[in-house]
Symmetry: D2
Subunit: 368 residues, 4 copies
């Protein structure tokens, strides 16, 4: 890292290039250019039309953003979780909700790549990693949200196929997706242990039997980092936009940036954005290295990142005054898009639950 | 880092060993043992008697904690800022206010080591680096606190000596210290430019003339990290103590740790402590590498760390109920000791000022 | 009040009937029934279609909600600001943004009623108080938001008419309204003193010349209370809906209401809603009595009420999990609608400015 | 109220005279003068020496502050809870911890006055209401804090006396007090139902048998309001002191009051102090009228008041910079004294519990 830093000329405390080596900087630039050219100009329209831009996602797939941390064999980019975080940060600035969906597709690809049989992968992964086909992650049900292990959808083998019985809810990409990674239950086998993972509609099991809940949770570790990275990217963008606005907009004969309240609020936003960046990237490194505490670190990063980045966007919106509320300005869209990051991939209450379990189990006794 | 992590067996998300390599772990252990044996058993008494334990500080000097990041030539430990942060984290758990004073002494030693002439260093540093003599940092005056550059104490050369005229305020260690690093002004030269740095009572100038304010500020970069590290160490300790208490104390037929509110609050504390650790250590690394943004990063780390760690200690105190308020329990002492970290070495409002200047000057235009 | 309370059977701490006498309770019931029957069933549709329901507003006018605190002579309801607050609380539960618009129309009517000539009132008020015609309040301009006194739209008398020159921005009801209460400037007369108030398109001055800024501000005192009351009504409704949801929704084999975190969060919401109610109603009473501190109290009530109620709705949304984000559920709409209350009728930063001026001018010296 | 307000000349939004009628204003003045003359000059010394100033409390008793809301028959002042709140607000500015103790003595007197037999009252109340003798409230035990109903101290009648067996903890005034109102249990009768209330050392039962827990809780309703009033009085004082300081202290060539951050923070403090005042006084009125929701309102007032007032004092301390931390300035003492108000008379977590029970039981269904 030293080299990069020493040669860097920019001293901006919120620079997204913080601590990145040249290779990561390059990927970051690719993602940024993509977000700037292919996403940002359209995000308002996509929002208005509640449109998932399949064509643009396909282009993202072409440059390797559909399966960032999948192995190369079937088309993955074989990059790290840190790369993934850096990429989603940029994509989210271009359109936070589209980026969030792409992150889910990445999660599905990884689950297949990681746990699927060679046969399954050979047959189905290439289309997915390239984003030719899109996929959905199907865990939640109407009666089973936070308590995902209580899901009731069953699947029963019948010849070559599975008869799936039950209903899923809140599935991102549903309708658009060609493949569904579905968590289902063996009838009569309650709890997390009774769950397995199925690729629908092709009816292939992914991973070991009765191991579906673990697979689902393993997927979510990365998912949470990516969602938090989406929050981060939008928050960074909100701060940069707010700073631009404050410097230009005048009231009371001064630019808004001359008012101390605004200055000091910006500094508070910087603390939130910067710590979000540090905690997310650190968790990504730990996940890359399969550290035993990566699940807790991912949960903590999701909790801290999505809460703080939401607050930042909310505060930046305020700095735009009435303009912040207008649909012509992207800031209100980031705010709406980020609101759900505190809920999906496990609510932030569930993140507190995960972290507190770690704390109560593993805490050390300093003075002992 | 990878090696360490992979071999680590502990998965505790708040483990202070987070990301440390074996060498840092070793230093950490030394500091921890010292804090546990020489400080923690006495912190209540020192507080009661408002006592600065000179003898214990001298022992700390013997193991190299008096001049952690000074060069070895005159007795410094030649370690990094990251080492320093790790050390102060541990010392603060032993006694936060004593640790804070030691950090100021370190700052003085470094200023002399960094800017003093060889002659000056040869003559005065060895006693200081070993803590045989203690030192104070003298910037603040009754009428000049946040606006330190407005200081009015003058010093005028008269033969071999300087006639110093004016008064300083809030000087940690005053009375106990043998050496004072004093920021003074050339009469008739207003502003930051008129300030130079003097070693009192020996009347030797430290560093270039009219360069005193820069020296004072350079010292504070490290000072802020160390103070924030003191907050961090106390907060970590508060959380670990609170967890112990929650697991043992029963009310309503359950241990307090079974109540969800307490669990979820712990998770929030974890986010605050962990991000404090990350932001402080990251800033330390940048300071070690003389990154152009280290001043901003140090200010941001001080702001985030001292605010959040105070909140954590306050929240942990609450978990002790009435016991948290008793002088028999260390938690209320940590709270009182940490309160002032939000004020000294530049108030957190001044940190906001420094950071906001960076933001308004250096912010990048993503979408441009 | 005593009588009411003693006879009240309900002990609900958040009961909107808190401290209301029988007459106010009756009006409250009328407003509630109206909101429940005429607004709530349609609020989702109006939002989707970005529709201002003129017909429903007219019905509100028929029962006296178009000019609540105007004198009866030209059709006002001659009620107090406290009535007004109680009414808007209820209407906002039916649809917060429609209620907010109605509050602006009320403000316009009051400004005419209070400051207009008898001739003007006789000719134009009856249609407005009955909501046959709707009105808009026109202060903000593209370059003049928080600094409203810097407005640049000029009006120059030419025979019976005024030539109005300039542009207004963010005008609620623009397009739909038949009458516009417009703050304009005499050319060449800068500052607040150069402003007068014009009824457009009829080209009649409202109130004394060069007194337009005072009229605009006088209108906003009540406007701020009403907007804050809208936030309050939506927050109350959000809490009641969340409680219903928590009691019914099960996860982990328990209703969500059994989880302590949710319980304790509810209590925090209660503190926010209840203090919002108290501060708003208290300010309303002071405004009714023309107390010298009513402007500050209104500003403080707007600041506290709109900030806290927004946080409450945000927190309640979280309790709905994914459902809170769905457009089928009203909660996300309340959140979006309340976001702008922190901005309009003077941003909450301007409220801080107003209050701090009072504090710095009028603070008393207890120990003197 | 109208009359008072109209004649008032002061428009200060934080005026403690807010909404008070002439009679209450008079009592307020008496309390203020007492606090200013008899307490404020000594609070630093009492703190240093950890001294409970029995002589000054006796003087407070002489002017009727020992039994504010007890009947006149045996020396009470026969005032309302609102009076009591107004009085403790003032006393706390003079010394928050002494005021808090006086509030506990008031609670004991009231419990005897309300539930004791005529005989008991005739014999023991006069010395207490006059503060000739002081009293303590004894509920908490080492193993029974928040879960007070689990207390284990037993009392068994033996002839004219009771043999009391067990230990109490955290008893304010213990040592100094002559009378102890002690909650004890009939051996073998578990739970709240097995508790009765005893006046010790005179061994007289207070109130009905097996009714002791209800008596204890009834006492705490008023106790919580008074403690919250103590927080309020200290917070008000902190704000007034901070304003004085900001107006006088100069840095960067300006008074601190000219910096917008400080101004806006003051406004936020005002919202906290003002809503605390409103919620406490409103709950007091409800308690005076025995409204069915008074227990919830008192709990909510304690929660909101003690949390917010603590934050205010903390924020005001910050405005004093280093001076805020010095023992020469009262602000740090207020902060320490207020910290425990969030814990005693039921922790603020227990307040959340009480309020949430009300919410989940009594919430109304607006749209039903
Ligand atoms: C836009 C969107 C996209 C989504 N995409 C997907 C997707 O692609 N695939 C998929 O499988 N799911 C998806 N989800 C579902 C999402 O993961 C769930 O909504 C989420 O996990 C919460 O579940 P729930 O909505 O059932 O809420 P619930 O579980 O009913 O929770 C409601 C509230 O209660 C709280 N709560 C629950 N249990 C407890 C407890 N024990 N203690 C304290 N509080 C508790 C929750 O934190 C929450 O605040 C999506 C949701 C949304 C809104
Ligand atoms: C226990 C303790 C130990 C200390 N040790 C040392 C030491 O060893 N050596 C030393 O030199 N100093 C020391 N100090 C002094 C400390 O650094 C100063 O107290 C601090 O810098 C603040 O200065 P001040 O107290 O004069 O507060 P002021 O500068 O008067 O500030 C008062 C308040 O106003 C705010 N403020 C000031 N300017 C502005 C502005 N422009 N905009 C907005 N807000 C503003 C501040 O943030 C603060 O909240 C110590 C202080 C304490 C309490
Ligand atoms: C939905 C909607 C409806 C509206 N309806 C009406 C209407 O009917 N009639 C009407 O006249 N107006 C209306 N407005 C306008 C509204 O009142 C203004 O948007 C508001 O007053 C803020 O002005 P601005 O948007 O120009 O923001 P700006 O004044 O540019 O403010 C931008 C940011 O800077 C802050 N700021 C400004 N000055 C200072 C300062 N001195 N110190 C610190 N911070 C400062 C502000 O608080 C804000 O955060 C409406 C606005 C909206 C969004
Ligand atoms: C200075 C001082 C003066 C006092 N004066 C008196 C007095 O005069 N008379 C008297 O009788 N008592 C007195 N007390 C005692 C005081 O009322 C208790 O300390 C208080 O009720 C808390 O009890 P505890 O200390 O046992 O804490 P615990 O009950 O052990 O609580 C510890 C923590 O756990 C939390 N907790 C407990 N139960 C739950 C739960 N179910 N869910 C979630 N969180 C929970 C608490 O909120 C707290 O944060 C005093 C205390 C102090 C510090």
């Amino acid at each position: 890292l030293a080299a990069t830093r020493r040669h860097g000329t920019c001293g901006y405390v919120l620079d997204p290039s913080h601590n990145l080596d040249p290779e990561l900087l390059e990927i970051q630039k690719v993602a940024k250019d993509f977000a700037r050219q292919e996403m940002y100009p359209h995000m308002e329209k996509w929002d208005k039309e509640e449109h998932l831009p399949v064509d643009v996602i396909r282009k993202a797939g072409e440059i390797g953003f559909g399966a960032i941390y999948c192995s190369e064999k079937y088309g993955g980019s074989a990059l790290t979780r840190l790369h993934s975080s850096v990429i989603f940060e940029q994509l989210a600035a271009g359109c936070a909700s589209t980026a969030a969906y792409i992150s889910i597709h990445n999660m599905c690809c990884w689950m297949i790549d990681q746990y699927g049989s060679e046969e399954l992968k050979a047959k189905h992964l290439p289309q997915l990693t390239s984003c030719e086909e899109l996929s959905s992650y199907c865990l939640t049900e109407p009666d089973s949200g936070s308590d995902a292990a209580s899901l009731r959808t069953t699947a029963k083998k019948q010849g070559d196929y599975y008869i799936v019985n039950g209903s899923k809810a809140f599935i991102s990409g549903a309708g658009t997706s060609k493949k569904y990674v579905v968590m289902v239950r063996h009838e009569g086998q309650p709890g997390a242990k009774g769950i397995f993972c199925l690729l629908v509609p092709v009816s292939n099991q992914i991973g070991k039997d009765n191991f579906g809940f673990n697979i689902a949770m393993a997927g979510l570790n990365g998912g949470r980092l990516n969602i938090a990275s989406c929050s981060l990217g939008a928050a960074q963008q909100a701060v940069d936009l707010a700073i631009d606005h404050l410097k230009v907009r005048k009231q009371f004969g001064k630019t808004l940036s001359e008012f101390q309240w605004n200055q000091f609020r910006l500094a508070e936003f910087a603390a939130k954005v910067h710590t979000s960046r540090l905690i997310i990237r650190d968790a990504a490194r730990h996940l890359d290295e399969k550290s035993p505490k990566s699940a807790s670190l991912c949960a903590l990063a999701k909790l801290h990142g999505t809460e703080n980045c939401f607050e930042v966007v909310d505060g930046c919106l305020q700095m735009f005054g009435g303009y912040g509320y207008l649909k012509d300005y992207p800031i209100q869209q980031y705010l709406r898009d980020l609101r759900v990051h505190r809920i999906l991939e496990g609510t932030n209450e569930m993140m507190r639950l995960i972290v507190s379990r770690d704390l109560l189990t593993n805490s050390t006794h300093w003075s002992a």
